[in-house]
Symmetry: C2
Subunit: 242 residues, 2 copies
Amino acid sequence: MATRTQGDDIRVAVSTVILTLRRAPTDDAPSLALPLVRRTRDPHQGDWALPGGWLEPSENLEDAAARTLHETTGLSPSYLEQLYAFGAVHRSPQRVVSIVYWALLRADEVDAQSAAHVRSGLAPENVQWFDAAAVPPLAFDHRQIIDYALRRLRHKAGYSRVAHGFLAPPFPLADLREAYEAILGRRLDPANFRRQVESADTLVPTNEFRTGSHRPARLYRYNDNVELADRGPLAAEEKRTR
Amino acid sequence: MATRTQGDDIRVAVSTVILTLRRAPTDDAPSLALPLVRRTRDPHQGDWALPGGWLEPSENLEDAAARTLHETTGLSPSYLEQLYAFGAVHRSPQRVVSIVYWALLRADEVDAQSAAHVRSGLAPENVQWFDAAAVPPLAFDHRQIIDYALRRLRHKAGYSRVAHGFLAPPFPLADLREAYEAILGRRLDPANFRRQVESADTLVPTNEFRTGSHRPARLYRYNDNVELADRGPLAAEEKRTR
């Protein structure tokens, strides 16, 4: 606008919180993890931050989040959900409003997409996955953003949503319970958990069983009639243009 | 930024969806209504739009929404909740990302705040309340924004939330049921509704009764232990600075 001065400058950025569930080799229970990127520029050069970047004038918000996520991490979740717009005045030296997206990604998807990124030769060395309970000091208000994403996950987690996000079907209920335990940060009673899932109608039992050292465990798949995510108001118009 | 060109210009705006429940003189049942502002400038000059304006570099997002809402309508809800960030490329001739806030307001609050605005001599003539089911053609994607706010209201509506937002305590359950009927767009069975409210524990019966042409109706008040709104991740930091 002709009337704008340099001091009016407000920039729009996007960031993404990608959560997965991974089982460390030495650990019995899986835990939540997310990728962070080490900043190569000021402000906060050398600090860890969420994947992200500037919004380009010609791209929609979700497209920008998907592009910057893929450029930095090689990840391409099948959908991104808008989390929140962060716009506190002093969250960055320059005035920046960040539109933050989030998604859940299965560990096997993370592995496949990361491997493809490495093969492409584009994989940067400054990306690293961290346990969500042990993130390093972060740039800007990104710690607050991660805390909010985890809070939303705890709040919104339905059996189907979490199963879709973290588990490849078919899976035994014990895997889903462990996912819940990781999200909620506490142990759940297996029998109670089974009763709740079975009454919730969001998962469907199969006739397959996982066998091993324990007694055979029935496998479940998703009930695809249940809506997974709030795709926001612009599901039709603002879909990815790539 | 020194490297930015004029074509990079992306501006940040705020808009608000304020919903109230009002009973037309000729109507038995109340219906949802919201204030719209007739635009005095291009683009879309002369069209109706949501209250809003540009984000100033020195103000937080919620502050900007509260300021522009008050400037145009005189309304000052006790809280504003972030609804969504709308950023489709072609939603405006110039590239504009709008952070939209929303709130529920009681009809008596609307009346008191609007009257004060008129007394102040600042009340613009280009503000008008519309039935949410009969809004005129709107500027930009504001129709989509309103539809999304109504969808979120239907989705998130808990007894306590709607009661807090639309009804002055103490109130009879019939008033709450009518509020629900307006939100959901369908009739509810009074006996079923009473059972659901009483089992939900979000309202508390008083020993007061409303008397009139019908048999006396017990009045209810809020259970203040129930959280009303998702105040977002920055409840402490991004609170209003005014």
